[in-house]
Symmetry: C2
Subunit: 344 residues, 2 copies
């Protein structure tokens, strides 16, 4: 193995690494309709339905912090994060597997609490806990949730189907999960610095954002609405990495770009208050904060009115352009900032 | 949370923990045909086929040791271990997802090597690498492989279908993966104790067992034979935890017991040599050593002759009894030892 200075994973980043890995996916199975590149792999299931498969790993100290996250909330959150990938394909989660790598300090009661949260989330998403794997770990608790879902063939939504002039829409609000994390990390720091080990953090002013961080909810409700009302987005992805990163992925996979309006970004008042208190730019929370598990989707212009009549829980933030891979944003001052270079 | 002394996971063991977890699987999806308890979850796919879903997590320092396992072999091994669960249901693996939690010290070249092994194993098992997840890790490299497979409904084999007097069969030989691990750990110790950092271990006498540990092969060949020749075991499981533990699971899930013959255990000569050199009991390697990824299955007596004509690569080691959960073994001296108590 060469040991040149560019041999780090960070030198090519997450998208680069995914492209590299895709290069090793050389065997093609007829049962796989679509492999690497979307929120879930798409499987041939029956004449009328596709299977959907996704898996996510959560590492203690990276994805979750047990010092301020109770086990049952961790359990619920990992399920929400996993099923969100199925909703992002417009699908229905059906079955999940949970793998645990358990360090010695994890007790039976902790595992019990974790599964209470997993079980409740499974019921919410109408999806059956169907197995998993148990192993040991020297340090961190590691949780992997794999989820199988399905979808009628004519209702599947890829992240690659956006057309020029489609409206770019996002559900709920964004940046609030990151705002909640900032508050929780600040309270943790205060607690660590205090002389009083039983000090309780005062989170009353930050209830909404803290909840968004600790117990995010995957947007089953919107997908149900899409199905019930016959609305089909042209492209969809969930906001897990951050709005900008996820929009870039949707745009690139569609061979398109996007033009969005900073003023249109749906940001909760509490998120703004957090940014003010931290003396940070709230738009950065909205653009780069991940884990909101909202749905980012594109709709033909004529469908927007229809959806507006049915739901107020989404916002049009811009439209799709022909500039491959390029995200442009009109700032509140009327300037245009550009993220990423157009490739054709 | 109570903090009593019985609050450790080891107090109830792996089977106890699995039973406890099953108690949280309260939501039932119509799309899940069989949940917790077999090698893979069974999903409703089409009129004629079931989907199969399994996932395994491999933690550096627990399941694999990078000091003597090259990355490409780790990659191949984790795929073999994962698809083995699909073969154990008599199924065909179709799609795998690989999740990595990467510590900083893992370089691009290492990830490259890992995926070379994954890609080659996927081609061997005719299964497409279709996605996964990437995250960070503070210490250990953690790999999760999730696999989706399928099987014609009338060909599925559960681990719960054994009948009294069925022959208990195992493919290949057992205990050799553990023997290989013992050799590798000894050579690692020698290397650590030696003054010579470039000392190379001499593994020429142990080629077979070391290969069994480093690059085990899942028994696609036997499952293909079963399908081609219309043979259907009454029950099947793969030897991943160890023969005794896996046989006990198969017996218990079938509400049966088993009587096996120590003299019949298929043990390779090289495995015997390792045990001799270590001054250990080779039968313990065979009974308790895991990771052989052989298939342990039961066949009605009349089918045994048919399979014998088709393959020499399996051994009848005993038969199924009516003693629920009890494994009896006739020793070479003619005594009978009993593992586990019959529960009815």
């Amino acid at each position: 193995m060469s040991q040149n200075s560019d041999n780090t994973i960070s030198s090519i980043g997450r998208p680069g690494l995914i492209r590299k890995i895709a290069g090793y996916s050389t065997f093609r199975s007829e049962e796989v309709v679509y492999g690497i590149g979307d929120d879930a792999a798409v499987l041939a299931a029956s004449e009328t339905r596709y299977g959907l498969l996704s898996s996510e790993t959560f590492v203690e100290g990276v994805e979750f912090d047990l010092s301020f996250m109770p086990f049952h909330q961790v359990g619920a959150k990992v399920v929400s994060a996993a099923v969100s990938d199925i909703y992002a394909m417009n699908g229905h989660p059906r079955s999940i597997l949970v793998n645990l790598a358990l360090p010695n300090r994890i007790t039976l009661d902790m595992v019990d609490e974790l599964y209470k949260g997993i079980g409740m989330a499974c019921a919410d998403y109408e999806c059956q806990l169907s197995g998993g794997d148990l192993t040991g770990s020297h340090n961190a608790l590691i949780i992997t949730v794999s989820v199988y879902g399905d979808i009628e063939k004519d209702k599947i939504v890829y992240n690659s189907g956006a057309s020029v002039d489609d409206a770019v829409c996002v559900t709920g609000d964004i940046g609030s999960a990151l705002a909640g994390l900032k508050i929780l990390l600040r309270e943790k720091r205060h607690w660590e610095e205090s002389e009083d080990p039983v000090m309780q953090p005062d989170l009353t002013d930050w209830e909404y954002v803290v909840k968004r961080q600790l117990v995010p909810v995957a947007r089953k409700d919107l997908v149900t609405l899409f199905h019930d009302k016959g609305i089909r987005p042209s492209a969809m992805i969930d906001v897990s990495q951050g709005l900008l990163s996820d929009l870039q992925r949707l745009a690139r996979n569609s061979n398109k770009g996007a033009y969005i309006y900073q003023a249109a970004l749906p940001i909760d008042l509490e998120t703004r208050k957090v940014a003010d208190e931290m003396q940070e730019d709230v738009d950065k929370y909205a653009l780069y904060g991940g884990e909101d598990f909202e749905l980012l989707f594109t709709l033909p212009e004529k469908e927007v009115g229809k959806l507006t009549e049915l739901s107020r829980d989404f916002t049009v933030i811009g439209k799709i352009t022909g500039k491959n891979g390029q995200i442009e944003m009109q700032t509140a001052e009327g300037d245009t900032v550009v993220f990423g270079e157009a490739t054709d």
